[in-house]
Amino acid sequence: MQTTPLVEMRHIHKRFGGVHAVNDVSIDLYPGEVVGVLGHNGAGKTVLIKTLSGAIPLDEGEILINGEKAEILTPRDARKYGIETIYQTLALADNLDAPANLFLGREIMTPYGTLDDGAMENESRKVIERLNPNFKNIKDPVRNMSGGQRQSIAIARAIYFNAKILIMDEPTAALGPHETAMVAQLIKQLKSEGIGIFLISHDLHDVFDLSDRVSVIKNGRLVGTRRTADVTKDDVLGMIIMGKLPPEKAA
């Protein structure tokens, strides 16, 4: 993997008042790679990743996309760079239907400048049914949908717009075993298409088998990054709990 990294986050700092939520963290991501970002709740991983998705502006540090410096101040900027995020909360408007959520902020318009709901419904059906063939009632408000269906919409929204970089924050936290397997399958497929994926989780077991590398964050600082092939789950647990970095093996 000696190509240019898809994403390089260098020396990222973020403070909230007196709290140094993210302190000099540097991580990177290559095309077709899955990097697990691990840490306790409140370790700073979500804040870190939100600086990449544009939800939180960073205080110091820089982000490089394909080797070039990127200005990411808003979610709209992030989308411009092909960064799509599936938030832990899924970020769905409960009162709207699936197509409205999928295209929120990026609606398909008719030539008259009005919403083209027919086209959006059509496109939504295509992408959602590929993810979840039993999902038919996409015109219902999202509030009436199951956890799996909601997750499908959030994922569909992220992959529909040809994401190059995908951020998944606790993607399987709310899912049953069947849906979790579905997400794992999807991650493998996206990976094979050359998409780089950050998997954020507080639970090692969720991400260890899916990740090529893991970066562990503790108290706002990066403990270290290791290839999953080189370490055991216990090594990583040691990093998460004690901040103890196992020796790096020669490549």
Partner: protein, 409 residues
């Protein structure tokens, strides 16, 4: 298809099948039934006076002012804000219009009243800009900003003329009030009705064509036809009633009152804005999940600002109707109207939790409120008693809504 299976399982009598297949909102239906029930009761209590063309004409005009503002209030409440200042803003913009018309601009000049309307609308938009700016860019809760506005603009309305009433206004301008000359006559009423009916038919056909294009399931033809027939009947009935009320001491039919035409235009525009524009979609998204809207790249502040600008504009429109109807500008115009407007929106199914509400519902809400008020006046009830009853109705209506939403889940 699981969809068609569930549809077959749910059988029932003709009426319930019809309403399901026609995809008529059950909530909307319940409100229509409530309205008809209120009308029936008032018809008997007033020995038929309530349903005379004359009273229905007045009811339509009375509902216009509240209805016009309720259209804006729906957007405000859907976006999880509130506007307590609409009555005061109506009074303020109305006073500005009357003051300019009578005291500033050349009397009887043909440009006088059109220019005062333009000025009034501009002032309304500026008031909306002002309040929206505080809400959107200074993060002051809308409740506080508009509570302040309630006082500020009521006071401002007084200050325009130091409390003096300004009258009389331009005779042409009075058309907007729905008075003796404020209606469009029988012929134009039928022409407009015909246009409305044609538009209903065309949009139904186009909708079906669009659904067919993507292979989506369309409503059955008979359900669609039934909806159309009901719509046509309602339009025709309305026009017949308006045409059966004559100008004083003549047999010239009045036809549709101008304020009602203004209301209808506002309803059509605001329905389109809320349904087929990005802006409308964003308003609902903001009310449904503010964080999701922000993360989707929606400029929430700008959308919020525009919601309040629209509300200010609609207050000015209501100010035009009110001053034209009074043939005067008085600083007490619109007092307590904010409560009627909010009540109309809420009775019409707009959720104070944000994200849910429709312009059409708010209009029904306005007509229900106004029917009660109008009916009680006919029955000779005191204004104190009317307030007690309207207040109770509001609480019961919202309670009904809460129960309805719980059972739906």
């Amino acid at each position: 298809m699981t969809n068609s299976e569930t549809r077959q399982e749910k059988s029932g009598n003709f009426v319930s099948v019809f309403f399901r297949e026609a995809e008529i909102d059950t909530r909307m239906l319940a409100m229509l039934i409530a309205l008809l029930a209120i009308w029936a009761v008032l018809y008997f209590l007033t020995d038929g006076i309530f349903l005379t063309p004359r009273n229905l004409y007045n009811l339509a005009v009375q509902s216009s002012v509240v209805g016009i503002m309720a259209c804006g209030m729906v957007l405000i409440i859907v976006a999880k804000h509130i506007d307590l200042s609409v009555g005061s803003v109506l009074g303020f913009t109305g006073m500005i219009i009357a003051f300019l018309q009578v005291r500033v601009f050349t009397l009887d000049a043909s440009w006088n009243w059109p220019l005062t309307i333009v000025c009034g609308l501009a002032v309304g938009a500026l008031v909306g800009l002002w309040q929206g700016w505080w809400v959107a860019y200074r993060d002051v809760p809308a409740f506080v900003v508009t509570l302040g506005g309630l006082l500020v603009f009521r006071g401002a309305a007084y200050l325009v003329t130091d409390g003096q009433t300004v009258a009389p206004l331009d005779p042409t301008y009075q058309i907007f009030g729905g008075g003796i000359d404020g209606s469009i006559g029988a012929l134009w009423s039928w022409i407009l009705g015909g246009v409305a009916i044609a538009w209903m038919v065309v949009s139904t056909v186009r909708n079906r064509a669009r659904r067919a294009k993507y292979g989506f399931r369309a409503k059955p033809v008979w359900a669609e036809a039934g909806t159309l027939i009901l719509g046509v009947a309602a339009i025709a009935a309305f026009i017949i009633v308006m045409n059966s009320y004559y100008k004083p001491r003549t047999d010239i039919p009045r036809g549709i009152p101008v304020p009602v035409l203004i209301l209808i235009s506002v309803v059509v525009i605001m329905t389109l804005v809320s349904r087929i524009t990005k802006f409308g979609r964003y308003v609902y998204a903001i009310g449904g999940n503010l964080e999701a809207a922000e993360l989707s790249g929606i400029d929430v502040k700008k959308v919020t600002l525009w919601i309040f600008i629209i509300m200010g504009l609609l207050c000015a429109v209501a100010g035009v109707v009110t001053t034209a109807r009074l043939n005067a500008g008085a600083n007490s115009m619109g007092q307590l109207e904010e409560l009627n407007v909010i009540a109309a929106a809420v009775i019409g199914g707009t959720s104070l939790n944000g994200g849910i509400g429709a312009v059409s519902g708010a209009i029904l809400g306005a007509v229900i409120m106004q029917s009660l008020d109008n009916g009680m006046v006919l029955l000779g009830m005191s204004s104190a008693m009317r307030q007690v009853i309207i207040g109770l109705v509001l609480v019961v209506a919202v309670w009904f809504d809460v129960v309805y939403n719980k059972r739906k889940r």
